[in-house]
Symmetry: C2
Subunit: 217 residues, 2 copies
């Protein structure tokens, strides 16, 4: 009998494990490059190296595949923000959050683009995740930042917009990679880009652009 995926309450076959892995990897490749509507099941099957009906045996619809992919990736994606530690030194924490986010933009650009595509097109598939788990996590960390500001450990600022600023500046290097490369030209497209970006952003967020005599840091 053909058991639909949802009904598998028991353990998964070795084959299932392997194929689902290959499919989600291919789905990440295609969805991140073209968005949900722009991606085709045929293309994903092709990248995964299997026939379309075979792929649809593991994920019955394009939508189910996309959802499974989002579920798997979202958790990892929020890890750096979770690591944000209320007890740590504020400047150090923000610094290493920036660095971690930048590393993720460098090492997992497809994941970044997956979400960017989704949110950009109105987040029709992940609205719940945004308003639920994401908002709760951000609320929690925003409270931490607010406390730091109140205690005079960092400048008074809106914690939400601070988080937005860190997200946008770091993910920019994944989402707008083509533009960054085009503007920087051939020379600066190598590995050094991320080091330059890290140095600039850490400096920006800590000291701004004001001229200053080697701040306390």
């Amino acid at each position: 009998m053909v058991l639909p995926r949802a009904a598998r309450t028991q353990r998964r076959t070795r084959i299932q494990e392997e194929k689902e892995e290959r499919i989600l990897e291919a789905a990440l490749e295609v969805f991140s490059a073209h968005g949900f509507r722009g991606a085709t099941v045929d293309q994903i099957a092709d990248v995964a190296g299997m026939s379309k009906p075979n792929l649809l045996y593991y994920f019955r619809t394009k939508d189910a595949m996309h959802r499974a992919l989002i579920d798997r990736v979202l958790d990892t994606w929020l890890d750096p923000l979770r690591a944000f530690d209320a007890e740590g030194n504020p400047v150090t924490e923000i610094r290493s959050y920036i660095r971690r986010k930048l590393e993720m933009a460098r090492d997992f650009p497809r994941e970044s683009r997956l979400f960017a595509n989704e949110v950009l097109q109105g987040a029709p598939h992940i609205e719940d995740e945004l308003k639920g788990p994401l908002k709760e996590l951000v609320d929690e960390k925003a409270e931490v930042i607010r406390a730091w500001a109140k205690a005079g450990k960092i400048a008074k600022c809106d914690p939400y917009h601070l988080i937005f600023a860190i997200w946008s500046t770091t993910q920019h290097y994944a989402d707008f990679d083509v533009q960054v490369r085009a503007v920087l030209g051939q020379g600066n497209s190598g590995e050094g880009r991320f080091e330059d970006a890290a140095r600039f952003l850490e400096r920006l967020f800590v000291d701004g652009l004001q001229v200053s005599e080697q701040p306390i840091s």
Copy 2:
């Protein structure tokens, strides 16, 4: 005789003017929401309130429509950067650039998303514009910033990454609008958002997060 669009060397009819306007408006709506591949000609025709063959009478292909739209919008989009004045006060110039970009994110979010979609998906249709006019303009303004830094008027920093940071933080409010709304919740989604964002960003770029006694500014 049916004159293809390209052959119109003479002045354009009133009808042509109106219809092309309506089509590009509809195309902006649809392309910005779904990206090139995700958009359909039928949908654009529907939004424009005309039949598909009628639309294709004015723009012979989906591609031509997209190109015309990009051409029309790109110039306007780069205006704020052009206004960047080498002779002005550096901090003031950067401040008002941020403000102008933020105003564009607020007033023309669809234009922002049009480019975001395009770049995100590898910029297959605007690679030339990025490597040509865009790069040249950025190079020019980066030189201005570098001169300011050299003269000690602002902190020493990589001018390219500074421009990227301004682009990403401001356009974030257009491109990731859904996420911003979801995180901020109902209360803060009104007009005040942009005022908060402006205040935060101007502060961030000028002073950073370091605690400071009312800087010179």
